[in-house]
């Protein structure tokens, strides 16, 4: 049902952006940070990268492409494909951030599998939220708007994710982990439903 008809230009710039930001932070902190700081920095970089990457997802479709897309696909198809595309993009970028931060800071999370799973869930949540918001902000000529709208709304999800990342630093398994994962998954589902239901109202013009 979903076709990915996206061209992969300008992707390189985002990768350079990620590596540049990580390197900047590495130099600022002089290569010396604790694990909680590491986690905080990781998600801050991931969040800013997400905003930069996702904000472009509707910007390019302003004129001819917009009418073309409208004629070939229903809004539901479009939002699904954009969400999936953005989610993969965010996962890819997060993994790059992860690799770069391991390389620079020479530190790693204890429970890697759990952390990767958190990245996966978090990326879908980010994608659900920011895809819809970028569809809203693409129509205004206000480019900071995505960050203004997005930051407070992403906060609940971000707090859960950071909490989860800290938990995954301990080798122990307890019920807190499942509760947190459940909450993140629940948020993913809520945001996905909202995005899909509300997107048709934004799409028609």
């Amino acid at each position: 049902m979903q076709l990915e008809w996206r061209q992969k230009t300008a992707l390189g710039s985002i990768f350079i952006y990620v590596i540049g930001t990580s390197f900047l932070i590495y130099l600022i902190f002089q290569g010396n940070i604790t694990i909680p700081t590491w986690i905080a920095l990781f998600w801050v970089i991931a969040l800013f990268t997400t905003i930069n990457a996702v904000s472009k997802s509707f910007l390019k479709d302003v004129n001819e492409q917009f009418y073309y897309l409208r004629s070939v696909a229903t809004p539901i198809q479009i939002i699904f494909s954009k969400i999936i595309y953005n989610a993969f993009l965010i996962i890819l970028l997060s993994l790059v951030v992860y690799a770069v931060m391991i390389l620079f800071f020479n530190q790693n999370i204890e429970n890697k599998l759990l952390f990767l799973f958190t990245i996966l869930l978090g990326a879908f949540g980010f994608s659900n939220l920011f895809t819809l918001l970028s569809a809203i902000t693409a129509r205004t000529q206000n480019f900071v708007l995505l960050a203004i709208l997005g930051f407070p709304i992403i906060l609940p999800l971000l707090l859960l994710i950071v909490n989860m990342s800290e938990l995954s630093n301990f080798a122990i398994q307890d019920k807190d982990i499942y509760m947190n994962l459940g909450a993140i998954a629940l948020l993913d589902v809520i945001t996905l439903i909202l995005s899909v239901v509300l997107f048709p109202y934004i799409w028609r013009d």
């Binding site: 809203i136 205004t140 407070p152 609940p156 707090l159 909450a183």
Partner: protein, 224 residues
């Protein structure tokens, strides 16, 4: 008696103010006299939630019916809700200074939740300001408003239950204060106070709606 609820509002708030400042209170450590803030701080948040809910309902109605009236109502309720949220933060901050020793306490998830809620609705007004066309403005801000309210609800209901670092009463589990030792004297004033403040907030919102309609009439914008 078409305006019976306005009279009720005045009576309840007079009762709240008089009884709130002079009524009997239970003896409690640390809280002492500051428990009287219960009649002002907590109803502010209740009013804000009621108004934001009303705003979301009108946003949904706007999306389904496309009547500009609904958008006016949604934005007015959000404006007054925002105002009550600020009042809630101010009264809460004063209370926190007295009982917890600081204007702002990091370990308190609800404070951060409240600040985030205000940011969310601050962004709502900025979004409204960045559209020129009225129809687009109404449609897009309605979509955002529905999103915002959902995340607001998640923030104040789900997060405090998961994290254990709340200084508010009713900690760990119910984020309210039913489990708290509200004695009958406090209840006697607290429930009327809640109803009174909510009525006042709705009243203010209705005045703003009427002002906006008058403004539209003066400038010969059609009211559908």
């Amino acid at each position: 008696m078409k305006y019976w609820w306005k009279y009720l509002c005045i009576i309840l708030l007079l009762y709240t103010v008089v009884m709130g400042f002079s009524g009997p209170i239970p003896q409690m450590n640390i809280l002492e006299q500051s428990i009287r803030n219960l009649y002002f701080h907590v109803p502010m948040w209740f009013s804000m939630m009621v108004l934001m809910f009303a705003s979301m309902v009108y946003s949904i109605r706007y999306l389904s019916k496309q009547k500009i009236q609904d958008d006016i109502k949604a934005s007015s309720y959000a404006t007054v809700g925002f105002l009550f949220g600020i009042l809630g933060i101010i009264t809460g901050s004063i209370w926190a200074r007295v009982t917890w020793g600081a204007w702002w306490v990091f370990q308190e998830v609800k404070l951060n939740g409240a600040a985030a809620a205000l940011l969310i609705y601050g962004a709502y007004f900025i979004l409204r300001g960045s559209f020129d066309e009225e129809e687009k403005k109404a449609r897009f801000s309605a979509v955002y408003s529905i999103f915002a309210f959902t995340m607001f609800m998640v923030f104040i209901n789900v997060i405090p239950r998961i994290s254990n670092s709340s200084l508010h009463p009713g900690n760990g589990g119910n984020p309210g204060f039913n489990s708290y030792d509200l004695d009958s004297n406090l209840r006697m004033v607290f429930y009327p106070a809640v109803i009174g403040w909510i009525l006042l907030s709705v009243w203010i919102a209705s005045l703003i709606i009427r002002m906006k309609n008058v403004h539209r009439k003066i400038h010969h914008l059609d009211i559908d």
